[in-house]
Subunit: 209 residues, 2 copies
DNA sequence: ACCTGAACACCGTTCAAGT
DNA sequence: ACCTGAACACCGTTCAAGT
């Protein structure tokens, strides 16, 4: 009974081509869709339709769907690195900066769930990014390692291998982020309360002495 | 040029119907496929084909694909609960039992990645399982809370709210499991080494005093 | 150069029909 | 009761063709 919703209906309202930064527009549209409807609902056809462009136009700018997701991940890693670095500095580095980094990490995940899920959800085959992802992954991680070394020098963090400590801490914040994102946290303890609690237990756990 | 690979070729080798525990066979086949090729490769058609059954036979036993995944999750929660409970008891409960539980948790995730991912990957819309998942989720979690209370009574764990502590600890083991599963851990520190390290830092962090 | 529409080989799901 | 095959409305991707 119903008319076809999609189809040749939307055929290009005005100008012939998109013109402008189509790749960027596609990336943003993808993020918007994932944010609202989840990654499974992301469809190249929908991206094209929303931008008033053919459903195959994307292939002019990305190798395939995975490459689009790879771009989302790359942008996410850049944003994450910036957010944590800023928080660390803004809190005056050191002890407080360290806590602020943890909070900033978890808040980033909650504020940008689409990015975070793509970054770590296994869509972009982790590690040595085969999907065209550079490696600011290690960059954001290196920030944490540096912060730890700094505090070891100041004598307030135990002198275990810094990378080992960093991975441990990363596990904690990643665990909190994932549990929060997947809705496994009870209302009595949201992500913000949890990361603050974790910061204290974490610090006691890694303190020197 | 090539002949159609699938199609009406496999048409039922012998007996008319499957007969036997088809739901169970489907669940196991699904797990096998996810284990080997990832959840995105799981296809109802493939499940049917591998079992020598029509690609719609599944609908006789499960409402839809999500229900099949829900069954995987339910089985996973049961297995996880059993594995951690056994480890806790086998290690004599208490201090050592606590560590053993952490190790068992992470090992479960690595040994049953398909189950673990479905359980927590957001496929089964967490929490009050709307996908037909009961709630052994809280069961496995309750085990952890009980272990903490036991140690608080023994005076070796600080008297924070036990649920809060449990969620914190869960974050740690979940974080380790997810990072390991997604291949984010360096070879120098695999999941087993990490959970052992975490156990020590965790204990220091939550010790009373 | 950049974009399009038709076509291909897939999906999950529904449903009338078979035994 | 249980299972089947055809059909429907979708996918991602390829490619000859348009401007």
């Amino acid at each position: 009974m119903a008319q076809p919703i999609r189809g040749t209906t939307a055929r290009k309202p005005r100008g012939r081509y998109h013109h402008g930064d189509l790749p960027r527009a596609m990336l943003q549209e993808a993020v918007r869709i994932i944010q609202k409807q989840g990654v499974d609902a992301l469809t190249l056809r929908m991206v094209g339709e929303r931008l008033g462009v053919s459903r195959t136009a994307l292939y002019r700018h990305f190798a395939d769907k995975r490459a689009l997701l790879g771009a989302v991940a790359t942008e996410g890693f850049r944003m994450l690195r910036q957010a944590t670095a800023e928080a660390f500095d803004a809190a005056g580095r050191g002890d407080e900066g360290f806590r602020a980094m943890g909070v900033a990490y978890v808040r980033f995940a909650l504020a940008h769930p689409a990015h975070y899920r793509i970054m770590f959800g296994g869509f972009v085959a982790s590690g040595k990014g085969p999907a065209g992802v550079a490696d600011p992954d290690t960059d954001a991680f290196q920030l944490l390692v540096d912060a730890i070394v700094e505090q070891q020098r100041a004598g307030i963090v135990r002198t275990d291998d810094a990378t080992q400590l960093a991975i441990y801490i990363w596990s904690v914040v990643h665990g909190i982020a994932m549990l929060a994102l997947d809705g496994h946290l009870p209302p009595s303890m949201d992500a913000d309360a949890l990361i603050r609690f974790a910061n204290e237990r974490l610090r006691t756990g890694i303190a020197s002495g």
